[in-house]
Symmetry: C2
Subunit: 330 residues, 2 copies
Amino acid sequence: MKKSTITIYDVAKKADVSMATVSRVVNGTGKVKEETRQKVQQIIEDMGYHPNAVARGLASQKTTTIGIFLPDLNNAYFNELAQGIDDVSKLYNYNIILMSSSISHQNEKDVLRSLFSQQVDGIVYMSYDISDEVCDLLYEKGIPTVLAGVIDYKRQLPSVNIDYKAATFEVMERFAQKYNSIALVVQDKNTNVNQDFRCKGMAEAAKKYPKIQFEVIRAGYGYENGLAVFNEVKAKKIQAILTTDDSVAIGILNAASDQGIKIPEELEVMSAMNTKLALMARPELSSISQPLYDMGAVAMRMLTKLMKKEVVQDQQVILPHEIINRKSTK
Amino acid sequence: MKKSTITIYDVAKKADVSMATVSRVVNGTGKVKEETRQKVQQIIEDMGYHPNAVARGLASQKTTTIGIFLPDLNNAYFNELAQGIDDVSKLYNYNIILMSSSISHQNEKDVLRSLFSQQVDGIVYMSYDISDEVCDLLYEKGIPTVLAGVIDYKRQLPSVNIDYKAATFEVMERFAQKYNSIALVVQDKNTNVNQDFRCKGMAEAAKKYPKIQFEVIRAGYGYENGLAVFNEVKAKKIQAILTTDDSVAIGILNAASDQGIKIPEELEVMSAMNTKLALMARPELSSISQPLYDMGAVAMRMLTKLMKKEVVQDQQVILPHEIINRKSTK
DNA sequence: TATAATAAAGTAAGCGTTTGCAAAAAGTAC
DNA sequence: GTACTTTTTGCAAACGCTTACTTTATTATA
């Protein structure tokens, strides 16, 4: 155990200056004579003084802390986003308070409120979707917030995404040129905007290719659900499939292989997350590539601007996507 | 934008009591007459008052926040541990400040100090290993800390682990009964205690089975390194291999398949993390199972006790491991 | 050299809570 | 009704730092 904490006051006394001066050299604010600056700096180092972030937060009403909200700590999609956020936040010296809501939307508002009471300077919100309620709460609170990989219906909140609708359409169109039975696997949430966009993309394709049969299959997230959904795929004689979640796709892939169905010859599978799982799958998983890391990074960068009250003209960022053909599509 | 924040003072005024009383009902501390309690409670709800965690932290010297330190945000191993931590922390109403050190040990101490200045009540430290320096820093600071999935040489710090040496020995022994050329893939850090234990486990097996050739292969973490390491495996005609990292194992698996090497017939592969990746691999990856989620949970539980200054008799927890045979071993 | 600017340093009032201690109120026992 | 407990409450001092404002020192200007 060390001796009790050293405060700015201790430093001031030892340096024979006022706390204000010490504060100034610590923060680099205001004018301080170079000479005193050095003296104080030296003493700070000698004493091993480290400012108390909590006190600072209370006094300045800024915590240099941002809240990151995500539904699941153990999910490659959010983790890659989070990594982008984390790296940029480091660049700007922000600390991160993590809040996971573990699936249920129920307590989301409480979680958020807890973030508020922590006085975070800003929030990056990630999720499969965002409810109007949450969106309003965030908006009304007036605390800088940006959505990453998710978008709200009303477009009240700044966000960083790809164009889900267009991406889906592209894939669907490509499939439509070769097959007549195509499926989109979508998660069974009701209020999911992102999924909505995907469905719209498919609808558009369906309109353009009226003879082709387009199917929506609803399934949960995760590998097991992919495994499970394969039977439906098989029963319906689907020839090509687009999923949202890599784990689901891999489930389908593996279920197919296990049953001796050849991929991509008998079934083409494309996913839409392009996490690093895609490379580990066999056959390697084709995917719409969302630049997850970049999305996180851009979101965080935007948030720093918002927190500094800089004007950000385009608050609805759409990053380019790609379609990456690996071995699960022809 | 909402009207400016409501403080405990506002509530007190409206309820016509002192701040002290409001504080008491908020925290459930001290005696308050049931009648006033209800009145105040009501007003709190009506006004939508939420205590300011920062001020509270400053006044009480407790932030109900713990720091989680990990090297990589996007790594299934740490994520599963983190999930265990997160769930338990939720149970006890602790918030989480996340700090990732992104690989380099360089700035670890700074990162930790930043955690200190945030006045966290406790720390869960995860990493591939822990340097003596960091260990001492943590120890001297006297802030409750527990290591999860890692152990320090000196055993100064409480920790939760499996018995790496024994687990390795078991696998090695099993391999030794069938083959005469066996490898252990280990990460090329110098000061890695966990790896050390593994090597010791192998050494023991080597001693017991002197005719068998045991090999240590050094490689970095991650899928690509697994891919890369396969050539060495092949060149040395290794027949069975144990890796630390699932991604590395999958790299080996895939490289082998890609080159037409049959697994497990021509090469047995076992890993030691048993993240959910193991199930997604084809063939499914056999693995020593570390109960990662539980390790995280136990670590966090222990931390709560430490923070409450309860005595914890056994501070070096060893959780049982299993050897799970899937399809990559016979 | 006097005077206006400007730079450097200090003062002290917060920031929103908690909490030890004291005061007031409500019970009890006689 | 008095004296003494025991509850309830309120007061006000921290907690460690920032920052508007003031004072003092320094430099530039004429």
